[in-house]
């Protein structure tokens, strides 16, 4: 266990600014490994990691899997359809069974908020939260932070999270991470998709996207889940795009250029205009690249890797 990070990574809320900087700094040397012809270092050789995905995910699961494989861990993927959950097994029993197989780490994605903590409290293995309900998605926020930091200092940056903040674990993790690192944070969206009392977390609230764009240096544009219309949160995709869509026209009126992030998968023409997503200020694909590096850093630190050796680790030396 790393003294720096503890046993698990469940969310960014309990971490300090120092913890966050440690993870981001550790990710830096790992970025380069993915650029090599042979994308593999032996730092997690002999470690077994289970990717326990109770909820559909493509990019997060693949990103974790690449991170694990590039660190030479042995990995097993358990997806909902193939698991015993469908046979009615409880998460407690799943946890006990994993423990009995003597695994080292679990990466868990689950539809229920708190599921990662629930698991972490019951097993000795390290647990990494890959998204729990509407609670947190810490590695996504870390990769967002890393991507912003590649372009400008986070401290003092004005970052606005746009869209369905109410249901978004990405938004919550981003809010904690950004505030701790000294950014100014705002949210913008229809009030029906903003949590009651969100301002009490220390964020500014914009009702209109035009005002948010005028204020912000960075926009993190959230995906609008299509089922939100059926539940009556917003009337239609068309109207959402007209009122809240991040478009070239709106960005053109901004006093300066904005960095555009999106956690994916995108609904082009709903929350974001394709010309913006593919435009010069979009860092959406950089986020994906950084995702692998940040997850390598998290796994490395939780497995007991020492931050000052991360640079050396990529050379292939034993820890």
């Amino acid at each position: 266990m790393s003294p720096a990070l503890g046993k698990d990574l469940l969310g960014l809320e309990p971490l300090s600014a120092e913890d966050l900087r440690l993870i981001l700094d550790t990710a830096e040397p790992f970025k380069e490994i993915s650029e090599r012809a042979i994308k593999k270092v032996p730092v997690l050789r002999g470690k077994t990691i289970v990717n326990l995905f109770f909820e559909a995910s493509t990019r997060t699961r693949i990103s974790f899997e690449f991170a694990e494989k590039r660190l030479s861990a042995d990995t097993v993927n358990v997806a909902t359809a193939a698991s015993s959950v469908q046979k009615g097994e409880t998460l407690v029993d799943t946890a006990r069974n994993l423990e009995a197989m003597r695994i080292d780490m679990v990466v868990i994605r689950h539809a229920a908020s708190g599921a990662a903590k629930f698991l972490a409290d019951r097993i000795q293995s390290n647990v990494v939260n890959a998204g729990d309900g509407m609670h947190e998605h810490p590695t996504q926020a870390l990769l967002d932070l890393l991507t912003i930091r590649d372009h400008r200092p986070i401290a003092g940056a004005k970052v606005c999270i746009v869209g369905d903040v109410l249901h978004s674990r990405v938004a919550r993790s981003n809010i904690w991470g950004l505030l701790k690192l000294g950014a100014e944070v705002a949210v913008c969206g229809p009030q029906s998709l903003l949590p009651l009392g969100i301002g009490a977390l220390g964020v500014r609230v914009f009702r209109r996207i035009e005002e948010a764009i005028e204020w912000a240096d960075v926009l993190n544009v959230l995906r609008l889940q299509l089922e939100r219309m059926q539940s009556g949160y917003v009337p239609s995709l068309r109207e959402y795009y007209r009122v809240f869509g991040v478009t070239e026209e709106r960005l053109a009126r901004a006093p300066h250029d904005l960095l555009i992030l999106h956690p994916g998968p995108m609904n082009r023409g709903v929350e974001i205009d394709s010309r913006v997503a593919d435009g010069p200020h979009s860092v959406i694909l950089d986020q994906v690249t950084n995702g692998v590096a940040v997850r390598m850093a998290v796994l490395y630190l939780l497995a007991g890797g020492r931050p000052e050796l991360a640079e050396a680790a990529k050379g292939g030396g034993e820890r």
């Binding site: 407690v92 539809a111 229920a112 908020s113 708190g114 309900g133 949590p195």
Partner: protein, 433 residues
């Protein structure tokens, strides 16, 4: 049965305006005398109550005994035993069992199981609608004839305003209250805890105060329209307390209860995804707690009721979203009430006895809640100063799902008597299971 003399206690009986040091004599299942220095009849059992409070046995208008259907988490016998351990001599069992208590045979089953158990008196509450489906009224006349003392679709609200109106009107014939669980499901659907800053942080879907308030407003309007008696179950919001207070001032026939957990705890207890703090209505914020306490103090809230809701430990050992709502409460109610209400001088001990015994008996028209000579010899003797620690493993209930585990409480039941027989004494051990 031997007569019982309860000697030298502080006898508190709000129904007969009594609060004095006295003896209480019980014989043939009745209170036969209350007074100073009563002689000890031949062969009488004597309970020395010096320094203790002697009060009418408590009455709980809101318990879930789970039988029939979930005898693995509670039975009428274990629930009634837990009741007397908490000083409750009469409990009213909600009808959301499996099958639902919506016909006279089901009511009769509960009555006969309670008689077999032979501890607390158990009064069935019948369903308002068949199967609690919110469509067709139950045969309330037959339910009452079989022993039901109220009707409720508890667990859910009475589904529509029209059904609530007709239930209030129809129940007038039988003189029983309609008890409503006030929750607008279109506002609360998917919710797991109070909607506020903590639910936002934990990423749990919230149940807004308005989900309760809009149905309380509906029910008050309908009670006003019909002249029927609505009893609002488990108030949780400041807004609902204000509405009940205002309605009472206009003479609307509305009564209300609050649970010990809602007057003691806030949504902060849900931190860490503590499923023993998951109940419906949810724990709310401190200003709601203050309003509930003020409502109990000024009589807006007539009584405390536990909403005793046993669940298997497996069921609570789950993700917060998937864990069931509800906590057990019979065995901690007195301790919580003394610690949280009498300690801070929100209620005097006589006022607390009124909220635990006198008023709930009046609301359900039970022959209980008083120590007047001739009344049933249902008595609790408790030590208002004794401190104890809540240990769920020691509960008589089959279930352990309490948010008060490990809490230090003041106020301990020493003896409970039903019909003149001792059915609980402190130190009794729950049977191992």
């Amino acid at each position: 049965m031997r007569p019982v003399l309860i000697r030298g206690g502080r006898v508190i009986d709000p129904a007969s305006q009594r609060d004095e040091t006295a003896d209480v004599l019980l014989a043939d299942g009745r209170v036969t005398a209350v007074g100073r220095a009563l002689g000890t009849p031949d062969g009488a059992e004597v309970i020395e109550a010096k320094g203790l409070v002697v009060a009418p046995g408590f009455v709980d208008l809101h318990v879930h005994l789970r039988e029939p259907g979930r005898e693995d988490v509670e039975t009428i016998a274990t629930g009634a035993r837990a009741a007397v351990a908490g000083g409750f001599t009469s409990v009213c069992a909600m009808p959301n069992t499996d099958p639902v208590t919506d016909n006279q045979a089901a009511v009769g089953f509960i009555v006969s199981q309670a008689l077999r158990a032979g501890t607390a008196r158990v009064y069935p509450i019948g369903a308002v609608s068949l199967g609690q489906r919110g469509e067709q009224l139950t045969e309330m006349g037959e339910l009452v004839a079989a022993g039901a003392v109220a009707v409720s679709d508890d667990g859910k609200p009475v589904a529509t305003a029209h059904l609530m109106r007709t239930a209030l009107e129809y129940a007038l014939t039988f003189g029983i209250p309609v008890i409503d669980h006030c929750e607008d499901h279109t506002l609360s659907a998917g919710g797991a805890m109070h909607e506020g800053l903590i639910s936002t942080r934990l990423g749990l879907k919230g149940i807004p105060r308005a989900a309760e308030d809009v149905i309380v407003a509906r029910d008050i309007a309908l009670a006003g329209l019909t002249g029927g008696h609505v009893h609002i179950a488990h108030l949780s919001t400041a807004g609902a307390v204000n509405m009940v207070r205002e309605a009472k001032s206009r003479g609307v026939r509305v009564t209300a209860e609050a649970t010990p957990h809602h007057i003691a705890l806030t949504d902060a207890c849900c931190e860490g995804y503590n499923t023993n703090a998951k109940m419906n209505p949810p724990l709310r914020e401190s200003h709601d707690v203050e309003a509930l306490r003020a409502g109990l103090a000024d009589g807006t809230i007539d009584c405390l009721a536990t909403d005793h809701a046993p669940h298997h430990y497996d069921a609570k050992e789950a993700e917060f979203d998937y864990a069931p709502f509800g906590v057990v409460g019979l065995e901690t109610a007195l301790g919580v009430a003394i610690t949280e209400l009498v300690g801070p001088k929100i209620l005097s001990l006589p006022a607390l006895v009124a909220r635990l015994a006198t008023r709930p008996a009046e609301i359900a028209h039970l022959a209980a809640g008083t120590l007047a000579p001739g009344a049933a010899a249902d008595v609790v003797v408790f030590d208002p100063a004794a401190e104890w620690t809540v240990e769920p493993a020691a509960f008589f209930s089959k279930s352990r799902n309490t948010p008060f585990a490990g809490r230090r409480l003041r106020g301990l039941v020493r003896w409970t008597l039903v019909g003149g027989a001792v059915v609980h004494r402190s130190g009794d051990a729950a049977p191992g299971r």
